[in-house]
Symmetry: C2
């Protein structure tokens, strides 16, 4: 997750070391600051942030909904005020497409279910299935988008507070209909133990602030469950965060040292913790691919649920 054209706490060099292949940058944030026209002028987002691998941009719609003020939805689009300076803006489906084109995104998202501009040649534009927690609306939305023949489909408006079972149920309604040869992207998920469930339902792509945000709040992930590293029990613990982990943080630093860095409020705490958590998430996907190959996905999923149901260590 690289909301403002940076993954919080990680240099691109670290992301490359970790094997990250796509980052998600945020249309709403970059439109407001530094501005999509500036980014275009400086050669697009890849050059601006020096990231040669893939960039996915969302449509900005979700942030208009969650961050901005004075939101007014009309037939044309959505009128809102910037959360930064209160300035007024109009986001239309055309504008969302234009901004993402200016950013030079590889995978763009439509503002809503209705697309009116053709996708530019070198950019994939995904349609987004909506419909809240109503199975019939989800199916109808999916059918309409399938008719528009997108190169990929996102499932939006989930993971906004509903129970995990409902997220899975709605996802299943949709993935049953979407073409199997197009990537399916479940937006804004998920917790470590949920990832395999979504993959089992036919999801190929996900995005989530959780690994980076949890890291900054001293919540680390391990193969045994959550490690709340500020806990006093780690004060003298010389083991790495996750003894089974091969990341460069676990190869070098102890729990005792990481705990000290968080207790002391050191910037380096966030850097090391973020690095580990992003590695952990990418590794979940590697393990899932392996589990699929060996027919073990269900077993992997239930083991993750057991480890993470126990609550933080």
């Amino acid at each position: 997750m690289g909301t403002q054209a940076a993954v919080k706490g990680l240099r691109n060099e670290a992301l490359e070391e970790l094997g990250a292949e796509i980052i998600l940058a945020n249309t709403y944030h970059l439109y407001l600051r530094p501005g999509h026209e500036l980014v275009r002028k400086l050669g697009g987002l890849h050059q601006f942030m020096s990231w040669p691998r893939a960039i996915l941009t969302d449509s900005g719609g979700y942030q208009v909904f969650s961050l901005s003020e004075l939101r007014k939805i009309t037939d044309d689009g959505v009128r809102f005020r910037s959360h930064l300076d209160g300035s007024e803006h109009l986001l239309t489906p055309e504008k969302a497409a234009e901004i993402q084109l200016a950013l030079g995104s590889d995978i763009a998202m439509v503002l809503d279910e209705c697309i009116e501009t053709p996708a530019p040649r070198e950019q994939w534009q995904f349609g987004i299935v909506q419909g809240a927690t109503f199975g019939d609306l989800r199916r109808e939305s999916a059918r309409q988008l399938i008719e528009l023949d997108f190169p990929g489909y996102a499932v939006g408006g989930l993971a906004v507070g509903e129970p995990h079972e409902v997220t899975c149920q709605m996802t299943a309604e949709v993935t049953a209909l979407l073409p199997k040869d197009r990537p399916r992207y479940l937006m804004g998920v998920g917790r470590p133990e949920q990832i395999a469930d979504y993959v089992a339902l036919g999801i190929d792509m996900m995005d989530c602030v959780l690994p980076t945000r949890a890291a900054r709040h001293a919540c680390l992930y391990s193969s045994e469950g959550r490690v709340l590293i500020k806990n006093a029990r780690y004060a003298q613990d010389q083991r790495p965060v996750d003894p089974k982990c091969t990341c460069s943080v676990c190869r070098r630093y102890s729990r005792a040292y990481l705990r000290h860095l968080f207790a002391a409020g050191e910037l380096t705490a966030a850097i090391l913790a973020t690095h580990h958590n992003v590695h952990f998430y990418l590794d979940i996907m590697r393990q899932i691919r392996e589990a699929i190959e060996f027919g073990n996905l269900t077993k992997f999923s239930s083991e993750m649920h057991v480890r993470y149901a126990a609550g933080p260590a």
Copy 2:
């Protein structure tokens, strides 16, 4: 500068890449948190923070003076309250030596001009010349310390607000007396354009929070002077911070991108800026060594003063 056993914003891997050979860790801070006994138990500071190169520790005296409350100096030592939790502590010369021994420091500092414990075999203990801005007191302090035959000598109590000329004058009084075959360490300096002056006066070692702290405040150093990267003039500047710099930040990221990261409050801004500034400082020392070899030190020094006198770019 690794006050709390970490250089703010840099992993040890980055410090190694930059060629840093010594880090300074702070006795006062580590005594209070996580505690020197804990660090000893975990194998000493080198192992605790996974830093195999040299570690210098100060005596803690300066921080007792600048950070703690209810300071009371007696014949035995100094009684103070922790700035963290108000707990009361007594720091004596013996205690300062004991803490630094527990930390496993390579180069320790005495608490004041009077040393009462022998330095352990594998640890260098430096005496510290004091005497405020009085030449006669400085000379007397130096003479007494020279009699105690330290493996190295620090010059303390300077760079605390007096003009640069006075710092130089006091340093010169002392370095004229100190044995030439022992390292001389001027504590707490300095600005980029001052470093060469101190070296010209016979100083071998310095420490300073400036490169890391300035970086976090968006002040970057370049061969042309200071670059206050938040300035609007850099919004579209595709050049690196310092076109002459070879660091991994200048090789990859533009001023425009760094400006954006600072404007957006991104954690990665501090990481990249700190990396560059530490490289810049280490590079000053490399350039000074070269200038000495070619007999150009005075020229180098005056050029630096000209560039940095002009004020921020």
